[in-house]
C-alpha cells in the first residue's frame, strides 16, 4: 500500500527524530532548568532522556501490534469511531499548538537577538512559507532535507568547542545531587518539554522501510544523541556561568558565544542564532507534517498542510505577551502529558488486554 516514494530508511528516521526534537528549547534550557535543579541540571536532562527512552519502548511495543497503522488509526481501532475521532482531534490540536508555540518562541528569539525592528508577522510569514515549501512534499524528501540540515547541527557543535577557552568553574555542579530528587525531577519535566518531537515516531512508523528490526535501535540512538547534546550544552553552561547569572540570562547558550571574540570576527552568537534557524525551522516543518498526517488521508495531504500552516501562522501572529506565552506553554505541556505519555500507555495496555481477552475466548 505504501509506495516506496513515501517511505524512509532507518538512517533517515534517526535524523528525522533529531531534527524534530532539537529546536528552540535548547537555547533557553539551562536557564529553565536552573530554576529548580540548579547545579544538578545535567542529571535532569539525562533522566529526561531515560524517560523518553522508556516512552520510545512503549511506542515500539505498541507498533509491534499495529505495524502498518499510525497513531490516529490505532486510536480508532481501539476506541471505536467516535471516541477515536475525538482523541485524534486532541492529538491534532497538540501538534498544531506545539508547532505554533515553537514558532512563537522562535520569532520572539529572532526578534530579541537579530532583528528587533522587523515586525513579527513578516518573520513568521517567511518561516511558515519555507515550511510549507518543504512540508508539502513527500516524507522521503522531508527526511532527505533533515539529513542535510543535520550537517548544520554538527557545525554548531563544532562551534561550541571554541567556548572551551572561556573560564570554567567546575565547582558550580558540586556537590552532585545537592538539589534533591524532587527538584531534579522537576528539571527533567522542563527538559522533556524541549525534547518533544520524538512522539513523531507515532506517526511516521508505518513509513519506515524494513521495520522488522532495528527501528528501536535507530530511535534510541536518536534519543541518545539528543540527550547527549542537551546534557552537553547544559553542562557547558553550568560550568561557564555562575548560578546567579544562569538565573538571569534567558538564552544562556547564546551568551556562551557572545563572550567569544577574535581578530576577524566578533559576536559569534549572532552567527549561531542565525544558523540555529535551520534546526528551528525543521522542528516546525516536523510538527506541521505530524499535524497534517494526523488528520488527513493520503490524497488530501497537500491541502491539509496549507490549511494547518495558515492556522499555525494565525496563532503565531497573535500579539502574545510574556505571561501569555508562559501560560500557553503550560497548556501545551499538559496536552503533551496526555498525547505523548498517557494515551500511548493506555493504548498499549488496552491492546494487551484485548489480546488476552480474545485468547481466553478462543481457548
Amino acid at each position: 500500500m505504501i509506495t516506496k516514494k513515501t517511505s524512509i530508511t532507518k538512517f533517515q528516521l534517526f535524523f528525522f527524530l533529531i531534527q524534530s526534537q532539537v529546536g528552540i528549547g535548547l537555547l533557553s534550557l539551562p536557564n529553565v532548568v536552573q530554576a529548580t535543579a540548579k547545579g544538578d541540571g545535567w542529571i535532569s536532562t539525562i533522566l529526561a532522556g531515560v524517560i523518553v527512552q522508556f516512552m520510545l519502548i512503549i511506542y515500539w511495543l505498541l507498533f509491534k501490534h499495529f505495524p502498518n497503522d499510525n497513531y490516529t488509526k490505532i486510536t480508532i481501532k481501539i476506541f471505536g469511531k467516535y471516541v477515536g475521532k475525538f482523541l485524534n482531534f486532541i492529538i491534532y490540536l497538540y501538534f498544531i499548538l506545539t508547532g505554533s508555540l515553537a514558532l512563537i518562541l522562535y520569532i520572539n528569539c529572532i526578534n530579541l537577538w537579530l532583528l528587533p525592528l522587523t515586525p513579527m508577522w513578516v518573520l513568521s510569514l517567511f518561516i511558515i512559507l519555507s515550511s510549507i515549501y518543504l512540508a508539502h512534499s513527500e516524507l522521503t524528501i522531508i527526511a532527505r532535507f533533515f539529513v542535510i540540515a543535520s550537517f548544520m547541527l554538527v557545525l554548531l557543535i563544532l562551534l561550541s568547542f571554541l567556548t572551551y577557552d572561556l573560564e570554567k568553574e567546575f565547582q558550580n555542579i558540586l556537590p552532585i545531587g545537592d538539589s534533591g530528587m524532587k527538584n531534579i525531577l522537576m528539571g527533567s519535566n522542563k527538559s522533556i518539554i524541549s525534547m518533544l518531537g520524538f512522539e513523531g515516531m507515532l506517526l511516521i512508523y508505518p513509513f519506515i522501510l524494513n521495520k522488522e528490526k532495528g527501528v528501536l535501535k535507530s530511535a534510541s540512538f536518536a534519543n541518545l544523541t539528543v540527550t547527549a547534546l542537551y546534557t552537553y550544552f547544559l553542562f557547558l553552561c553550568l560550568i561557564s556561568f555562575s548560578p546567579n547569572q544562569l538565573k538571569q540570562v534567558r538564552e544562556p547558550v547564546l551568551y556562551l558565544f557572545k563572550a567569544l571574540s577574535y581578530e576577524m570576527l566578533d559576536r559569534i552568537d549572532l552567527i549561531f542564532i542565525a544558523s540555529w534557524i535551520v534546526p528551528m525551522t525543521t522542528s516546525i516543518i516536523a510538527f506541521l507534517f505530524f499535524a497534517s498526517k494526523s488528520i488527513s488521508k493520503d490524497k488530501s495531504y497537500k491541502k491539509t498542510v496549507l490549511l494547518n500552516a495558515i492556522i499555525i501562522y494565525l496563532i503565531s501572529i497573535y500579539p502574545f505577551d510574556e505571561s501569555m506565552i508562559t501560560k500557553f506553554s503550560t497548556y501545551v505541556t499538559y496536552l503533551s502529558y496526555f498525547v505523548v505519555f498517557i494515551l500511548p500507555i493506555l493504548l498499549l495496555t488496552l491492546t494487551l488486554f484485548i489480546k488476552t481477552l480474545k485468547r481466553s475466548e478462543n481457548a
Binding site: T9, F11, Q12, I110, L114, L115, T118, L123, F126, I127, S130, Y133, L134, S137, T140, I141, A143, R144, F145, V147, I148, A149, S261, Y262, E263, M264, L265, D266, R267, L270, I271, A274, S275, I277, V278, T281
Partner: protein, 500 residues
C-alpha cells in the same frame, strides 16, 4: 533494405498520388513538386547503352566526387540493367515520393528509370564540418584535447573510440516536424537502467515540435522541473567527460548540428567535477573539488554576507575592520543593496559584451570595464572599495564551476539572497540558503534525486563528490543512475600485496 525509422503519417502512405508511376516524366514532376520546385534540384538524364535513366539530386547536399565516381561512372560503364548491383554503395529502393523527397534532402541521389515504379537511392552526402578541436568552453590542462563537433556521426565515433565495447548502443530519433533533426541516444546497454532508458525514450518520442535546433532546446523539452534555477541536464563538449558518465550508466543525448552532448540523469555534484581531477594526483584533485564546491556557496552568499554585515550586524566585525569598511562607505550615497546589485549588473554586462565580440575588442572591454570603471567608480565615491573586492571575489567564485551553466545559476541565485540579506540580515541569508537546499533536495533529474549523494545521503558515493579518492579505491559506480552493475573494478593494486 527498408529504413525503419521513417515516421510519416499513414495518410500520406496510402495515398496513390504519392507513389511513383510508370511514366518517368510524371515521376520527375511529382518529385519536383514535392520539393516545391526548388532550384537546386538537379535532374540529369543519362543515356546508357541499354536504357535511359534519370538522376536527381540536390546540388547543395551531395558531394560531386562521390556522385561521379560511385554513381554516374558505374552507370555509364556497366551495361547491366539490374541497378541493384550497380554500385559498391548501399542502395535503397522506394516508390514513395515522400520517402524519396526526404532522402534527397538528406543528401541522397535518386535514380529513376522508364517504366519502373521504384526509385533507387544512393547516399552521396557532402558533410561539411569543422575539424575536431579543443572545446573553448571546457578547456583543461592535462586531459584529452578533442571536443565534440556539429556532426552527429563524428560525435558518436568519438565516444565509440573511447568505449570499444559491443554493449555500446545507439538509438536514433527524429525530432522536429520541419527540421527533421536527428537525435541519438547513446548508452551502455549492460549498465544503463532499463526504466531510465524507457523514460527518456518516452520523453523524446513524445516531443511534438516544428524545430529542434540544439541540445539546449531538447533539454528544456525533457527536463523534470523547468522552473528550477538549476540545470538538470549536463551539456558537455568533452568526449572524455561524456564517456565517463556513460560508464556510470548514464545516457548521452546527441543532437545533430549541436556540439553539445547532453548527459542525463545528472546530479548536482557532477557540475563540479572536471576531467582534470582524474589526471592529477588524487590529493590535488580533491583539493580543487573542495574549492569548487566552496565556490558555489561563496558565489551565492558573499555579497549577501557583506550587505548583512554593513546594514544589520556591524557588531560581528571587530572595531578595526569595521572602521576601515565604514571609511570606505563614508561618501557612498547608495544603499549597500543598490551598490551590490549595480556592480553585479555591470559585471554581467561586461561579460555579455565580451562574449560576442572578437577577442581583441573583448580585451579592450576588459580593460575599460575592469580597470577604468573599477577604479573610477571607487574614486567617484559611487561604490565602496570593499564592495568592489566582494563583487570581484564573487564573480571569480562563480566562474570556477567547470560547467558554466552552474556558475551562472549560482550567480543568479545571489540576487534573491542579496535582497533577503538587505531585508533580514543573517536571518535572510540562512533562510534563502535553507530554501535553496530544500529545493535541491526536492529536485529530481529523470526520477533520480538531484542532490545525491547528500540527499539522500549515501556514504559509499561520497568518495567521488567533495573529494576524489584514489582511482583504485573507486570500486563501485555511483549509485545515482541506478546502474545494472555496481562493481567497476576489482583489486587493481593486487601487485602491491604480491610484492611482500
Amino acid at each position: 533494405m527498408r529504413f525503419s525509422k521513417d515516421t510519416f503519417s499513414p495518410g500520406q502512405l496510402t495515398s496513390n498520388e504519392n507513389r511513383l508511376t510508370v511514366d518517368l516524366k510524371i515521376n520527375i514532376e511529382k518529385i519536383n513538386d514535392f520539393l516545391c520546385n526548388t532550384e537546386d534540384l538537379i535532374v540529369t538524364k543519362i543515356n546508357r547503352s541499354s536504357e535511359k535513366v534519370t538522376i536527381l539530386y540536390l546540388d547543395t547536399m551531395v558531394k560531386k566526387d562521390l556522385l561521379y565516381s560511385y554513381v554516374i561512372d558505374p552507370l555509364l560503364n556497366n551495361d547491366s540493367t539490374d541497378l541493384n548491383s550497380l554500385s559498391k554503395m548501399e542502395i535503397n529502393k522506394s516508390s514513395r515520393i515522400s520517402i524519396i523527397g526526404k532522402r534527397l534532402v538528406d543528401g541522397y541521389c535518386v535514380i529513376l528509370k522508364e517504366n519502373c515504379t521504384e526509385g533507387f537511392m544512393i547516399e552521396v552526402p557532402d558533410s561539411q564540418g569543422r575539424s575536431i578541436n579543443e572545446p573553448n568552453t571546457e578547456q583543461n590542462i592535462n586531459g584529452a584535447h578533442d571536443g565534440f563537433i556539429e556532426s552527429m556521426s563524428t560525435n558518436i565515433q568519438l565516444l565509440r573510440k573511447r568505449v570499444r565495447n559491443t554493449d555500446f548502443k545507439v538509438e536514433y530519433f527524429t525530432v522536429g516536424k520541419m527540421t527533421n533533426t536527428k537525435v541519438a541516444m547513446v548508452y551502455i546497454d549492460s549498465l544503463a537502467n532499463r526504466i531510465l532508458v524507457g523514460e527518456i525514450k518516452k520523453r523524446i518520442s513524445s516531443i511534438q515540435i516544428d524545430q529542434l535546433q540544439s541540445t539546449g532546446n531538447l533539454e528544456e523539452l525533457i527536463e523534470d522541473n523547468p522552473y528550477s534555477p538549476f540545470p538538470q541536464v549536463l551539456n558537455t563538449e568533452r568526449p572524455d567527460r561524456a564517456t565517463s558518465y556513460l560508464l556510470d550508466g548514464k545516457i548521452a543525448l546527441i543532437v545533430d548540428g549541436s556540439p553539445m552532448v547532453s548527459i542525463v540523469p545528472i546530479t548536482f555534484f557532477s557540475f563540479y567535477q572536471a576531467p582534470d581531477d582524474y589526471n592529477h594526483r588524487w590529493l590535488i584533485g580533491s583539493f580543487f573539488r573542495i574549492i569548487r564546491v566552496f565556490s558555489f556557496i561563496i558565489a551565492i552568499s558573499l555579497p549577501a554576507i557583506y550587505i548583512a554585515i554593513v546594514t544589520f550586524h556591524s557588531e560581528v566585525l571587530p572595531i578595526g575592520i569595521l572602521y576601515s569598511i565604514r571609511v570606505s562607505l563614508e561618501f557612498v550615497p547608495f544603499l549597500p543593496l543598490i551598490e551590490a546589485i549595480a556592480m553585479q549588473i555591470i559585471l554581467e554586462l561586461l561579460k555579455e559584451a565580451s562574449i560576442r565580440l572578437p577577442s581583441p575588442i573583448a580585451q579592450t572591454i576588459g580593460i575599460v570595464g575592469g580597470l577604468v570603471i573599477g577604479t573610477a567608480v571607487v574614486e567617484a565615491h559611487l561604490v565602496s572599495n570593499t564592495m568592489i573586492v566582494v563583487i570581484g571575489f564573487t564573480a571569480i567564485a562563480s566562474f570556477v564551476a567547470p560547467i558554466n551553466e552552474m556558475g551562472t545559476s549560482a550567480r543568479l541565485l545571489g540576487f534573491p539572497t542579496m535582497i533577503a540579506a538587505s531585508i533580514f540580515g543573517f536571518f535572510g541569508i540562512i533562510l534563502s540558503l535553507m530554501l535553496i537546499f530544500m529545493h535541491l533536495s526536492k529536485l529530481q533529474s529523470f526520477g533520480i534525486p538531484y542532490f545525491s549523494p547528500i540527499a539522500p545521503f549515501k556514504k559509499e558515493d561520497l568518495k567521488d563528490t567533495f573529494i576524489r579518492l584514489p582511482f583504485w579505491k573507486l570500486n563501485t559506480r555511483p549509485t545515482d543512475a541506478k546502474p545494472k552493475k555496481l562493481i567497476q573494478q576489482g583489486m587493481s593494486r593486487v601487485w602491491k600485496k604480491n610484492d611482500h
